[in-house]
Symmetry: none
């Protein structure tokens, strides 16, 4: 148990270091020094730097997957509320895990074909959920006729950019504000 804790601690420290310096600038030394472990110990816990990074990304993607629940049109809760809850959970998680979010959007992209696949596959899954909901919504006459694929992609992009700007840029917003704004934008039409 002690070992698992230590591992988790190193993982958290590594996330912070990666977020601070970026994957390449973050040296294994930086991590072990901050974690107060020996260099060799690092390799006792992790295959290598790359694998540790992968674990961080996988962890975040897993938690994001958990946060996103398939919309159930038959459920008592209205579809739009289910969607809103999904978005809220995702945004809340990303805002909570700033370090992991940062490395996901700025370091994992283009680092490696493997990571690109991982991310693309994740975004594909999310898009598939959204596309399903939108198609269903169109079938029920709740959603405007348009390409569900592109619309889903656009929504994902909106969330990513708002999160990205609030982490890197000067955008100062809270979770509720983001969710409300997204639904204000998409919910009634930006341009009438």
């Amino acid at each position: 148990m002690k070992s698992a804790e230590r591992r988790a601690q190193v993982l958290a420290i590594a996330a912070a270091v990666f977020a601070e310096k970026g994957y390449h600038a973050a040296k294994v030394d930086d991590i072990v020094q901050r974690a107060r472990i020996a260099r060799g110990t690092f390799y006792l816990y992790f295959e290598d730097k790359h694998a540790l990074f992968g674990e961080l990304i996988d962890g975040l993607l897993g938690r994001l997957r958990t946060a996103i629940r398939r919309i159930d049109v038959a459920a008592p809760e209205p579809v739009i509320e289910q969607l809103r809850a999904n978005v809220r959970r995702v945004v809340a998680l990303l805002f909570e895990e700033r370090a992991l979010t940062k490395i996901m959007v700025s370091d994992a992209v283009g680092l490696d074909p493997g990571f690109d696949d991982k991310l693309l596959s994740f975004y594909g899954q999310v898009r598939s959920v959204l596309e399903g909901s939108l198609s269903e919504g169109q079938r029920l006459g709740l959603v405007q006729p348009c390409s569900p694929q592109l619309a889903a992609t656009a929504v994902i992009g909106s969330v990513k950019e708002i999160v990205y700007q609030s982490i890197f840029g000067r955008l100062q917003v809270g979770v509720e504000e983001v969710v409300d704004s997204l639904f204000a934008c998409y919910g009634q039409s930006l341009l009438r």
Copy 2:
């Protein structure tokens, strides 16, 4: 003049190599070998690898800035058409310059505080243009009441994600399709 051509050629080859392998995995050797120049010649044309990369990014950002024109509400052309033309030019440029686009979204982010600033500043400018148009639109009753800042960010994110997915992912779309879809999404309301 021959020299300028050679320089441009190396620049183009470097863009391709960076797009293929990523900034860090792309070695100066890869570039010079493909360009069929000696390693020393590379440093005759460019300060170093970093500076060459910066030139590529600056070039694309410059062309993007040129593609984005401030919306003129007093012009005879409808505001929405001006907006559409902006989006079309941007998307067309990004689709045309796939290699540069790829390195901008996947390598320039988090590479360096300098590059992050560069990108953030660019996105800030674009957002400012969009925000202005949205605010003006709201004043004229053409745009739904919502945070212009977040809405603008959302729109930028939509464009980025669609472009990103069509370059990295499996999204197979053309320029017109993207523009139409964006306006279908935002133009009449995604959810009724």
Copy 3:
């Protein structure tokens, strides 16, 4: 303790390599190959080639400073004997440390403003000691009237040249012979 020994060993080997090839011609590779360590190990022990060289020079200058003791006119031992002991210790040290002496006179000069300062400052200190003794000697009527500054410089030069010639050149002399000759030259005029 093992590590300190290894470090000292590398230092000694480096001194020999520098003496043999000169600072610039001596490659880090030459040193590590002779020391039978990996290239990376070198940088574990020393900041870089320059710093290692600096350490060698500092070490010799330090030992030379220790060898030179301020003349005490009030001491029971005659001033001239104190002076002779100083010269003997210096010459003996330089003869003993041929490699270090060689790099000090042939590589450290003009290598770097920092090294020039270091050497100049050392020679300045030695000259100051000698000047003091000469001035005191003149006050006591033991030394011929002449510029103590130039005389001190001349004496230093004599020692340097004799050592230099006996290391580089064909001058085959021993410590005692050098000391005796110096005092034979200077002993009846400079010192009355």
Copy 4:
């Protein structure tokens, strides 16, 4: 003739650059830029950087050799005055050619076995002249009994050090002062 002038000019500029930066830090580029010639032109005039440097050193050594004249005991001018004239000419030349002097004492030493031989052979010649004079002086009872070889070396070292200190260090002296001081130091003991 134009070409010879140009060559001489490049030579002079190179001397200045070498004196300023040292042999290794002085790049061929620095020289050609200051001389306002193309890089290729440099190699039209000189074999290479090393040969140019050699020419500078050879030139100074040649002029020094000219300045040093063999003492003629049979001449009407007293031996001591002949010696003094020699020293005066040498010191005057070195003070006049500070750049060349600097590179001779700080760059040529230990640069190359070839240069070391060159310098050693020069100093050997000078020493031989001095030794001859001192031996002759001893035979005539004009000079104290001591090792002519070591005495000659000491005198050479004195001159070198004074010149070195007045170029690199803070020693501010004129030619006459140097000559006078040297003869004050050596003049009453070495020379009876």
